[in-house]
Homo-oligomer: 281 residues x 2
């Protein structure tokens, strides 16, 4: 039920020789479509540009991506009142072997997926999460970048089937919390807000960026730092975020229970005000 | 100029929704075809089975892979006197999100690529390698497995263009030698043979396995151990191996020069005898 487009035209397949298939040689963005328009388009384009730079991939012109994105939204059969888009940029077709072909054009794919708002009780009461055993690989070279190498997340997500568990939190091999399989993480202790540093692993989410900036605009510092998983026991509030659902309070991680706290509520209110109405409770 | 097959039939493309494209969710084998037959078929099938187990992927039946492989060799337009085959096993098509769909069948792709023997002088005199800056990610969960997440190797291979450099050696983030971008590494000091331990990163190559076993059969222990990169200075011989070229002496790594030593020669002779005639010098 997804629609994929390339150069504005439907494209359900790609060549097996594409380096995304062979090596995961590429990056992607996951963008919320609300009322027919992409949310945080500028932030996503800036992050995509940064990701391409980090991987030494030629950046597709934003104007062309924008045109193709508009075409995809026009042509899709998915209801774009509330949907999710993915933009994948791959290193394109290559010869066998790790060396990229000189001057091979990158490939940009745009996918539109149906989606629907989460149950309001999840925003009001919070979600249950678990601590995953699968560690995140430590790789400073691509830390923060949403590359197509996502086996860590896949293997972590395979750890549970219980539909009552909304998300799994992941640590690096040294037991530091980094992020969820599909979300970033914030923790609050005595009104001090912190989020894990992403210099060794993890994905630097758009919503994470937005929250840090909104907090700063409201005079609240957010500490980006190492966060040993043992600290979970001392935390008063925990919340997760991503570009699709916005912010969700965590009410339980394993046996540890959390109240939906003041900071979490105020972050949700800030976002709900203009940018992410889903967060209104 | 590659030929790809799926279920024995030509297959130049795969669905964009395949999890290999989206997440690199899969594994692969690279197999030498010599005189029309795959070399080390049994070893490759055993490693593929192990890789699927490590990633919780359903293993395609070996008998079916074998049948499809035969069909690919029959139908390809590539000269299979001397060629390279790739077998890719992906987690198949999935919904959006990291969770695999229950019961989704894996996809097995078989590619046949033209190849040709390396210049005999490389076997006789050795190759130049460099030490890469890009570290290998530390990930015990998939260490040793040839997964489709190969960005580390891609980025390392992007570090040089000099065609005189045959290979790049890679370290983990703690500066321990692990392997080359496309090969495994052996080092010799005072007739003691060692190869890096692959418990945190790296790919456990078929040719590496064969060499360790051949050495053992000849009464020579090979130490699988941590190998800080500083040890390179103290090594007397260095050689690299993979399933395609067999064994190549290293004559230079950066400014350090190595002689083609006795152990290297004898490993090459053992292999050349029956299994890898390319190594005959």
């Amino acid at each position: 039920v997804s629609d994929w487009f390339e150069n504005g035209a439907p494209a359900a397949t790609i060549p097996v020789d594409d380096r995304a298939v062979q090596y995961g040689d590429g990056v992607f963005e996951t963008i919320a479509i609300r009322s027919g328009r992409p949310r945080y388009w500028g932030l996503h384009m800036a992050r995509l540009a940064d990701a391409c730079r980090r991987l030494s991939l030629a950046l597709p012109a934003t104007s062309i991506l924008e045109r193709d994105f508009d075409r995809a939204l026009t042509r899709t059969t998915v209801n774009i009142g509330f949907a999710t888009a993915k933009i994948i940029v791959t290193a394109g077709v290559g010869q066998r072997g790790y060396a990229r072909s000189r001057g091979a054009p990158v490939r940009a794919l745009i996918g539109i997926f149906p989606n629907r708002p989460l149950d309001a009780t999840l925003y009001a009461d919070g979600v249950s999460v678990r601590l995953c055993d699968t560690p995140l690989a430590t790789q400073p070279r691509t830390a923060g970048v949403k590359t197509l190498n996502r086996l860590d997340q896949v293997l972590a997500r395979e750890e549970w089937r219980d539909p009552g568990i909304f998300e799994g939190l992941m640590c690096d091999a040294d037991g530091r919390l980094v992020c969820g399989t599909m979300s970033n993480l914030f923790a609050v202790r005595d009104a001090q807000v912190a989020t894990p540093r992403l210099s060794r692993a993890g994905v630097a989410g758009i919503m994470r960026r937005r929250i840090i900036d909104l907090l700063a605009a409201n005079g609240i510092d957010c500490d980006e730092r190492d966060m040993p998983k043992d600290e979970l026991d001392d935390m008063h509030e925990l919340f997760i975020c991503n570009s699709q659902f916005g912010v969700l309070p965590v009410r339980r991680c394993g046996v540890r229970r959390f109240a939906v706290g003041e900071v979490t509520r105020s972050v949700m209110a800030m976002l709900a005000d203009k940018e992410v109405p889903e967060c209104r409770t």
